[in-house]
């Protein structure tokens, strides 16, 4: 009997990242998110005759930095082309892109894929990046179905985009989501793109197909209209299932473009697609080749060094990448890998954590719990980011020091934390003093308390003497209740044991 291998999904992503720059790719109009319609449009962006493109230095740097961070080969010479198609939000009738020789090729994106909720061990995976190219964004169309018209706003037309084309190395929605999250972190760290999917700064289209391993790749569909990383995973998984159903029932998958509908979590075939598009690519005649130089010395004599884009210079500007940061945190502070992920994912959290560690005598492993659990929980509850935290690193460090020195117990500290959150202007000691939360350290007082409890629970004492250790917890709990948590469990256990045995 031949065992037919199972159908598996194949996913390749096409990502458009909006370059974070002050002005557009080929013109001097401003790049800004919300603005009055058509106010950020120059004569070139409106495609008036006689206007010419002038390339933005910052956009070239952004593309090279991104290429370097993703281990790409930077093409010293790259060319611009025209991609022709008609649509009202692209008044020129063509988009200037880099089809033949883009600015960067052959890179890798390394990311960690967590299997469902198993946080113990994330697998390191990588996806190959075919190329990174510079291209123009189109304007925005607002469809008015009722009056059968479309309103066109060209504010976004001409904004610089980096198109990242990935090889179909992934096999499911979760992998794609993890890869995109890592890419978002990298772009945000570099400062080349803010990578906010809901604001359209990062647009992801998924090319999905299914096949049996070993067979050639199946027919692929392109899934668009994905507005968040969660939707990306859902859309890809739905599409893979849909294609598998089609094939299992004997049908064939059609090469088409489908839109993701977030309400129903399904993909829907898009109408108004006239077969395969022929973009009639042609070299952009108004732009000579773009040269990027390896080192300061390789900049030729006639070229202004300040004007030129030099790779060596940019390499020295590269900040610490998320992967490097995580490694450094794990090595320096001896924290768990999954903790480093949470730290790096939240903006400003690494700085907060390192600040607390510096100011406290406690080990970083003790600090991490407070930062990841208590701090993050409260921030999320009140919808604040780290920079808006009412609790400063200094205050938290002070509190942790008090726990370390045995002046307050851990359970009490949790309550102290909440009080500090509500009243950040009060010093820690004052809060503790006002509520009489200091740990009872007077041994005589403790012995008296323990004696009282032992006397009050003779049956329990008998059980413990008999060998039932678990009943001890009941006694500890009683002491805890009586003292409102101001005792050190370790000390209490020692005294109780001494008394009982």
């Amino acid at each position: 009997m031949v065992i037919v291998p199972q159908l598996v999904g194949v996913v390749g992503l096409e990502i458009h990242a909006q370059i974070q720059s002050k002005s557009k790719l080929f013109s001097g109009s401003q790049v800004r998110f919300m603005s009055p319609p058509n106010s950020l449009v120059s004569h070139f962006d409106a495609s008036l005759p006689g206007t010419l493109p002038v390339l933005n230095h910052r956009c070239v740097e952004a593309a090279v930095l991104t290429g370097l961070a993703l281990n790409c080969t930077i093409n010293k010479r790259s060319l611009f082309d025209r991609k022709h198609y008609f649509y009202a939000d692209m008044p020129a009738g063509f988009q200037i892109t880099q089809q033949r020789i883009p600015i960067a090729v052959n890179g890798t994106l390394v990311y960690n894929h967590f299997e469902g909720h198993k946080w113990n061990h994330g697998m390191t995976k990588s996806v190959k990046i075919k190329q990174i190219q510079l291209e123009q964004d189109s304007g925005k169309s607002l469809h008015d179905e009722e009056r059968s018209q479309t309103l066109i706003d060209l504010n976004r037309a001409g904004v610089g985009l980096m198109e990242l084309v990935m090889e179909p190395d992934m096999c499911g929605g979760e992998e794609a989501a993890s890869a995109v999250r890592e890419l978002q972190l990298i772009l945000q760290t570099l400062g080349t793109c803010q990578a906010n999917m809901s604001e359209g700064q990062l647009r992801v289209d998924a090319n999905v197909s299914v096949h049996r391993p070993g067979d050639p790749l199946g027919v692929r569909t392109e899934v668009k209209n994905i507005n968040s990383v969660r939707h990306l995973a859902k859309a890809i998984d739905y599409e893979i299932q849909r294609q598998m159903k089609v094939l299992r029932s004997g049908g064939t998958v059609i090469n088409e473009t489908r839109a993701f509908d977030s309400k129903s979590s399904t993909t829907i075939a898009m109408r108004d697609k006239e077969g395969l598009q022929d973009y009639r690519f042609m070299p952009e005649p108004n732009l000579p080749p773009l040269f990027v130089y390896e080192t300061e010395d390789s900049v030729p004599a006639g070229v202004d060094s300040a004007q030129a884009v030099v790779v060596e210079r940019l390499i020295s500007c590269l900040p610490e990448m998320p992967a490097q940061k995580r490694m450094r945190l794990v090595e320096t502070y001896d924290i768990q890998l999954e903790h480093s992920f949470t730290l790096v994912n939240e903006e400003g959290l690494v700085d907060y954590f390192e600040s607390v560690v510096q100011k406290t005598k406690a080990k970083p492993r003790k600090v991490i719990g407070w930062v990841l659990d208590d701090l993050m929980r409260n921030l999320n509850l009140h919808n604040l980011n780290v920079s808006q935290s009412p609790l400063s690193p200094e205050a938290l460090a002070q509190m942790i020091d008090l726990i370390e020195s045995g002046r307050i117990s851990s359970p009490v500290a949790k309550q102290v934390f909440q009080e500090m959150w509500k009243a950040p202007e009060l010093p820690v000691e004052q809060i503790i003093e006002e509520r009489d939360w200091w740990m009872i350290s007077d041994v005589e007082q403790l012995r008296a308390l323990c004696q009282r409890i032992v006397d009050g629970h003779p049956e329990a004492v008998q059980l413990i003497k008999g060998g039932n250790k678990r009943v001890m917890n009941k006694l500890i709990g009683e002491i805890h209740k009586v003292t409102k948590g101001r005792t050190d469990p370790v000390q209490v256990v020692a005294i109780l044991e001494e008394m009982i045995f």
Binding site: S23, G28, L40, H43, V54, S148, P289, F291
Partner: protein
Amino acid sequence: MMCNLGLWAMRPAHHRRCVLFLSALRAVLSANRTSWSRYRSERELSSSAWTSKVPQVPSWEPIAEHQLPTATKISPELVDKLERLALVDFGSKEGVECLEKAITFADQLHAVNTDGVEPMDSVLEDRELYLRDDSVTEGECADKLLQLAKHSLEEYYLAPPGNIPLPKSEERSAVL
């Protein structure tokens, strides 16, 4: 004659003219040979200082039929596709034939041997591409731009919903 000698007395502004005057003078002096042939031979002898690179007789040859690739025929489907992609209107059979002739004319380039030669797509290929500083210098002219549009609504351009489909292929063939 007299005027020629008079011209000789003038300082010639261009050395070439000097040669002509000299030969003209010689022509005048030797009456046996015709002045025209004298002028020509004199000219050739004394023209070592300057040679024109423009060929004196046409040097191109028409490309033979067999050197061209097979003539391209444009099918009605291709006409439809081109009309849709480029929004041109071939109008009639003559229009399509004109295009086919133009393609044949361009096919003459196939006779050129381009082995080992990199294609050039810009004469500016050795020039530096100027990179503009990232600063805001344009924009804020919505009212001027919208004045150019036939239809606008508040500050938006107005367009029909989606692309207007071209007339169906049956109608096309009726025209052709």
